[in-house]
Amino acid sequence: MSAIRLILISLIAAVFMVSPLNAAAQIEIDITKGNLEPVPIAVPNFISSDVRAQEIGKNIAEVVRNDLERSGLFDALDPASFIETQTNIDYEPTFADWRVIKADALVSGRIVMESSNRIRVEYRLWDIFRGEQLSGLRFATTTDNWRRIAHKVADSIYEKLTGETGYFDSRIVFVDETGPKTNRRKRLAIMDQDGANPQYLLTGSDIVVTPRYSPDTQKITYMSYESVIPQIYLLDIETGRRELLGNFPGMTFAPRFSPDGRNMVLSLVKKGNSDIYSMDMVSRSTTRLTSSPAIDVSASYSPNGRQIVFNSDRGGSPQLYVMNANGSNSKRISFGDGRYTAPVWSPRGDKIAFVKSQKGRYSIGVMNPDGSGERLLTESYLDESPTWSPNGRVIMFNRETRGARGTSEVWSVDLTGQNLRKVPTPGKASDPAWSPILP
């Protein structure tokens, strides 16, 4: 009996010893390749029991679809292809119906009229294949503010599905141009990032260039050729109040805010030599950061404010350099053929955008802050003035065409070089500057 017991114990022990081996024999596969196709998303018109709100719901859905589509990351499906018509967004959608039309995600929204001029906008984002809700949000606003709500809805969808913050609820300040190339009139204007709601910020008697947003989105610096010597101004968008930022004897160029808004970097020309200076926005005192006999211009802070990228011809031709925010430890980062100008550090910190001119053609390019991984995203007769979207994924820039009848337009391109699109503007436009996300 004891021998049998021993055998049984051995058998049981053997079973337990073998089990992990069986588990280890499970198939394990590496999936290393995938697709970069836009994510198919269904955005039906937001529903409402009120006729007026139904119109707003239709408009909001359209803006959301356009925002997502223009990002290049989403394919907004045609509403005509939808099978299910939801009547209550508080119930789960019929996922099978949305799988049939190959939607990966669904946005179901509702408008509730709170009063005659106030609406409540609610939406739910569904993952069709996992069959679960990814987010559900509610916004309330006045009826005439529906467009901003639409951008906010698009931002939250974008964030939920990509992991990065959206950029749709932001604005572009740009220079509106009228007249022939030889006698252009340049006025400061502002519009939503999708080209909607364009407005002039200044009456337009003076010529302005290089507008730049402050981090709080309330102020804009720009250079004005109002007098013989160009000067830097600060404009409060809300109040319209304009202020001259110091009275410098020489030329001043390319002002740009630090990420915390306390300082500004700019180029000042003294005794015929252009160097980079920082300016304290409270005391208005300036500190010299570079002191080379070369032309040092186009400074831009890193998002953490510790470093500055700028353009200098100290090596013979214009190239990009990075230095500490106090001007120390300057190091060249661009070594390719051609001329590198107008560097702008990405808000997410991983790239620097620049303009490269070579053999009479201009390109917008990106490189890592250490100079590695240079990639050219565009090429044309003249591409210049790159500006980053608030999330660091899209670059907007100015494109000019050749000849006396040549035009000036604003274009955008994805960080990957895909999704090159013209940004609608009222007329000829240049020098775009992208705002941070609006509060």
């Binding site: 394990e28 995938g34 609610e122 559900g136 916004f139 990509t162 992991g163 990065e164």
Partner: protein, 265 residues
């Protein structure tokens, strides 16, 4: 007898010398064998011949559909802001586990007090089997020979013994995943966005379960892209279903898999 002692001495010396001669030579040992390395192969690496008798395809229960109404969004207070802060609309959908998918016999509560193993009982069972009439057992076996073969083939098909996933079958699975997986190459530092997923499949190729294997790392990570990468990996598994292109006879091989979603930078 005068020569007795010398003869004895000579004889002993001869014996000793003869012994030395014999023992000084090594004994004939076994001829030294060459060590030939032998690769151990299992049958399933040599052949993929399928079972002669095909087992009936067991049917799976249809996938569960949810028709649970969500809780209505809570009411909110008035604010005077032009654009009020966003509020999260909550859903409380209780996912009911699909009990029909796999039948698990739950023992009665009254039996739970019994010990898991009673070795005495098991020994007695073995003894009884040993004492049973061998002729009777043999007759039974012969009578049900047909059933035994069928059962053996079914068991073989179910266990996948004698079969292995071929490279082309694995590649088909990879290709399918490539089409369904939105690779996070456009995210920041994509090389840090690898995700491991455990997948359980039903016989008909439907997904029974998808589980992230490194959930703690993903949940505690401050990298927002990692959460999305995990979300996309899980979605890709669901999106690619049904996996009905996988050979049924090898179900045991693919019913449970680990997929490593590692973007190739």
């Amino acid at each position: 007898m005068k020569f007795g002692w010398p003869i004895s001495l000579f004889g002993h010396l001869a014996l000793a010398f003869g012994g030395l001669l014999i023992l000084s030579n090594p004994l004939d040992s076994e001829p030294q064998k060459l060590i030939v390395p032998v690769d151990l192969l299992t049958v399933d690496e040599l052949t993929n011949i399928k079972a002669a008798i095909k087992a009936e395809t067991p049917t799976d229960t249809p996938p569960m559909t949810l028709e649970t109404p969500m809780e209505n969004a809570p009411e909110e207070g008035e604010t005077s802001d032009a654009v009020r802060e966003t509020e999260t609309l909550t859903t409380e959908i209780e996912l009911v586990p699909d009990e029909t998918a796999e039948t698990i016999n739950v023992p009665d509560e009254t039996e739970t007090d019994k010990p898991a193993f009673n070795l005495d009982q098991m020994s007695a069972l073995i003894n009884r089997t040993r004492d049973a009439q061998p002729e009777k057992n043999q007759q039974r076996s012969l009578q049900s020979e047909q059933n035994v073969y069928a059962f053996a083939e079914l068991a073989r098909a179910q266990s996948g013994e004698g079969t292995a996933m071929t490279i082309s079958e694995l590649e088909a699975l990879q290709s399918a995943m490539y089409k369904c997986w939105r690779i996070p190459l456009d995210a920041k530092n994509p090389e840090e966005l690898g995700v491991r997923v455990k997948v359980k499949l039903r016989r008909n190729g439907d997904v029974q379960m998808v589980e992230l294997l490194d959930k703690p790392r993903i949940n505690t990570s401050s990298n927002p892209y990692l959460k999305i990468a995990a979300q996309r990996a899980v979605s890709a598994v669901s999106k690619c279903a049904p996996y009905d292109f996988l050979p049924l006879e090898k179900y045991s091989m693919w019913q449970e898999m680990t997929l490593n979603f590692v973007p190739e930078v």
